[in-house]
């Protein structure tokens, strides 16, 4: 009598909550997801290929444009990967400043995640609270290097310039305020009944599945695996820092929310240590005018706000640009888990799952 059909719906590429140009093909039975298929590539620019045709110095500019909300982390990964390829050692002061800025960037990235994720679930005020603090961090970046979003903050071998006058006061002012601000977000969300209903038990993914899919970052840690590259393979100045790796066992959206909030507090702690223990000295290693690589290949991974960000570089003899460049982007790999997290759930959970994965399409598509 009645025809019972599944409806195919395209969530995106133009949709308020797919965070850019993600397109998710969904087959719906009523509101239940029968099949979920993320379609990517709308923002593909060929960053890897472009970087192979740029010198090592120029390539860094392109890393800004991958994960544009965590440009400093991307810069750090590139700079350190090239340094590893060339065998350059960076002065201690530069490593401290790098750590400081990267952690501030982690906070700003998590703030953007918090705001947009809460907005997707319907709590619109958190967004503006989070952006208030993010604005301050962007001001700090601007004071440091003149750019707010696409920073190109570091140079291969260290920093272009030392920290400017007034920079320390700015960071300390932010540090003094920030923990109270996190409490403010928690007041709005953590014990909110509707927030808990929308996140507890939603879009779960077990530790085994995470590892099988290559999922890293807060999503993996919320599943109970304390894997953090800052601890596992320390880089920059992380070996000298005191911080905890927050984990949760529940592996759901709420656990990821808690992990990320705790990570912001830990980042705050690291920034404080960097400020207090900032060593004196030079910020730039002695480098030749033109960097030329040997035949060599490196894989260097850092803990970006979204997970393991790996740079694979192959150098050729006397090459001024990488012979081969490949990025292991955390957003790209984490996005693979989306069908696993959402199939059989409801339409509203897809939105929550995209939010909790914290993907940036600039990096997914590269």
């Amino acid at each position: 009598m009645f025809k019972n059909e599944e409806m195919e719906i395209n969530l995106g590429p133009q949709h308020p909550s797919t965070h850019g140009v993600l397109r998710v093909k969904l087959r719906l039975d009523g509101e239940t997801i029968k099949h979920c298929y993320p379609v990517i590539g709308y923002l593909h620019r060929g960053v890897e290929k472009i970087c192979e045709n740029k010198t090592f110095f120029q390539g860094q500019v392109w890393t800004d444009r991958m994960d544009y909300v965590a440009a400093v982390s991307n810069n750090l990964g590139w700079a350190e990967a090239v340094e590893k390829l060339m065998g350059i050692s960076v002065p201690r002061r530069a490593r401290y400043v790098r750590t400081l800025l990267t952690e501030l960037n982690r906070i700003s990235s998590h703030l953007l995640w918090l705001g947009t994720h809460a907005m997707d679930i319907g709590a619109m005020t958190v967004f503006l609270y989070a952006f208030r603090e993010r604005e301050e961090i962007l001001d700090i970046f601007e004071a440091f290097c003149g750019a707010r979003l696409t920073t190109t903050a570091f140079r291969i071998g260290g920093l272009r310039d030392d920290i400017p006058p007034g920079f320390e006061a700015k960071v300390r002012a932010f540090q003094d305020r920030f923990l109270a601000c996190v409490d403010e977000y928690e007041e709005l969300l953590t014990e909110n009944r509707i927030w808990k209903k929308r996140t507890v038990g939603v879009a779960p993914i077990s530790a085994e599945d995470c590892i099988a899919m290559g999922v890293t970052g807060p999503v993996l840690r919320a599943a109970g695996v304390a894997y953090d590259i800052r601890k596992a393979f320390p880089y920059a100045a992380y070996s000298e820092m005191q911080f905890d790796v927050p984990t949760r066992m529940e592996a759901d959206t709420y656990a990821r929310y808690q992990v990320r909030l705790e990570e912001m507090k830990q980042s705050h702690r690291i920034v404080q240590q960097c400020m207090d223990g900032l060593p004196e000295g030079a910020v730039m290693a002695k480098l030749p005018k033109i960097l030329k690589s040997e035949v060599n290949e490196v894989y260097h991974a850092i803990e970006a706000p979204k997970g393991e960000l790996g740079y694979y570089l192959v150098g050729e003899k006397g090459g001024v640009n990488p012979y081969r460049f490949h990025v292991r982007g955390p957003s790209f790999v984490n996005l693979q888990a989306l069908p696993m997290m959402t199939e059989g759930k409801l339409l509203a959970d897809v939105i929550a799952a995209i939010g909790t994965l914290d993907v940036v399409l600039g990096e997914v598509d590269r």
Binding site: S17, A123, R198
Partner: protein, 388 residues
């Protein structure tokens, strides 16, 4: 409380009087709704540590330029600066009216037109039974043509099934949403329409049940009698069913009007704009207007039946105010409007604070919690009535 003595009127006089009242009420709605959108910008703006609207679109020249310069100047003064964005409600209305009207190619033209009307007309017609003031507001001066010397009442009709009429009309509104969604021939509106249909139908039950408590307490369906009796003639115990009923009613009212945290039908982050995704221009404007008018209706009913209506104190506490207290012992239009204003503020406040429920959770909250709660409340109301 003034007693009504019916004054004989001719048919023409009755019609003219009704027309004047209709115009007054429509003016009230058409002023209040734009003010409400302005208040929404401002209240949510201040909750979210920003200013809200302070300028209107346009450059530095011409009329908009003059208005913008004026608003820039207003920014120098503490209280006045709050009202800087006020002209935006006129700009909003103008934009809606002058915008190109787009209809999807495969839309059902007739239903597509019908839906906004179906949404809007009941929302306005409900006000025919709302008592703004339970007595005579004033008398027309003798020189006034046709109705000179006649008293103006604070209500349009005094029908003895007022509440039934309101509930009946209010449930017609959902047809507008469902038909509009279906007629758009588009997937997101369809999902929004289905959600809305399920939601409004399930919340209509606890909404009506929570309104039945005042009906039991007063033994009447007449809006005026109910609102006056509930404020002044209850036993002290009536505060329990009225208090519970108020919260149940207000929550279901949020669901009925598709407002946060129950705004699933137009969940922006999920369904783009829900049922009115394909609507533009003034056809969207009618949906918008009806949503905000419904908010006013819900606030008006909550005020009249739970918050003491035209009297000062809510939940039947007015009886403890001695008649000798003078001004505050009397009903006043300003109390009624003021309480509506406060409830409308609550709507905006909640919107700025809470996330959105998921579809299945919304249903379970409605059927598993609100219907039992309102049924128990109904029982308590019966008990109170029985004891009195």
């Amino acid at each position: 409380m003034m007693q009504m003595t019916p004054i004989p009127m001719t048919i023409v006089q009755t019609l003219v009087m009704a027309l004047i009242q209709i115009i007054a009420i429509l003016a009230f709605i058409f002023v209040l709704v734009p003010m409400l959108t302005f208040a929404e910008r401002k209240v949510i703006g201040y909750v979210q540590v920003r200013l809200g609207a302070t300028r209107i679109a346009g450059g530095n020249r011409g009329l908009t330029g003059a208005v913008n310069k004026l608003m820039w100047w207003m920014g120098h003064f503490p209280v006045i600066s709050f009202f800087r964005g006020l002209p935006i409600f006129m700009a909003d209305g103008l934009k809606l009216v002058t915008k190109e009207d787009i209809m999807p190619a495969k839309a059902d033209k007739f239903v597509f037109w019908l839906a906004p009307i179906l949404c809007m007309v009941p929302a306005f017609a409900v006000f025919a039974a709302v008592t703004f003031y339970p007595g005579v507001l004033g008398v027309f001066p003798a020189w006034f043509p046709i109705v000179g010397g006649l008293p103006v009442t604070g209500y349009m009709t005094d029908i003895n099934v007022g509440l039934l009429y309101i509930l009946g009309l209010a449930s017609v509104g959902v047809y507008g949403i469902v038909l509009g969604a279906w007629a758009s021939n588009s997937k997101y509106p369809l999902l929004g329409g289905l959600r809305s249909a399920a939601q409004v139908i399930s919340y209509e039950v606890p909404l009506t049940l929570s309104l039945l408590a005042p009906v039991i307490l007063t033994g009447s369906l007449n809006f005026r009698t109910m609102s006056v009796d509930l404020a002044t003639k209850m036993t002290p115990w009536a505060i329990i069913p009225l208090f519970i009923g108020f919260f149940a009613y207000l929550t279901c009212g949020f669901a009925e009007t598709n407002r946060v945290p129950f705004d699933l039908a137009e969940a922006e982050s999920e369904l783009v704009s829900g049922f009115h995704t394909e609507y533009t221009g003034m056809k969207f404007g009618w949906f918008f207007l009806s949503e905000y008018t419904n908010m006013i209706v819900v606030s008006a009913l909550a005020t009249a039946f739970f918050l003491g209506g035209h009297y000062l104190l809510p939940f039947g506490l007015q009886q403890f105010v001695p008649a000798s207290a003078g001004w505050i012992a009397q009903p006043h239009l300003i109390f009624f409007i003021g309480k509506i204003g406060f409830l409308l503020f609550v709507f905006l406040w909640v919107r700025a604070t809470l996330p959105r429920y998921r579809y299945d959770q919304l249903m379970s909250v409605g059927w598993k919690y609100f219907i039992p709660l309102t049924l128990v409340n109904l029982f308590i109301a019966g008990l109170v009535r029985f004891m009195a």
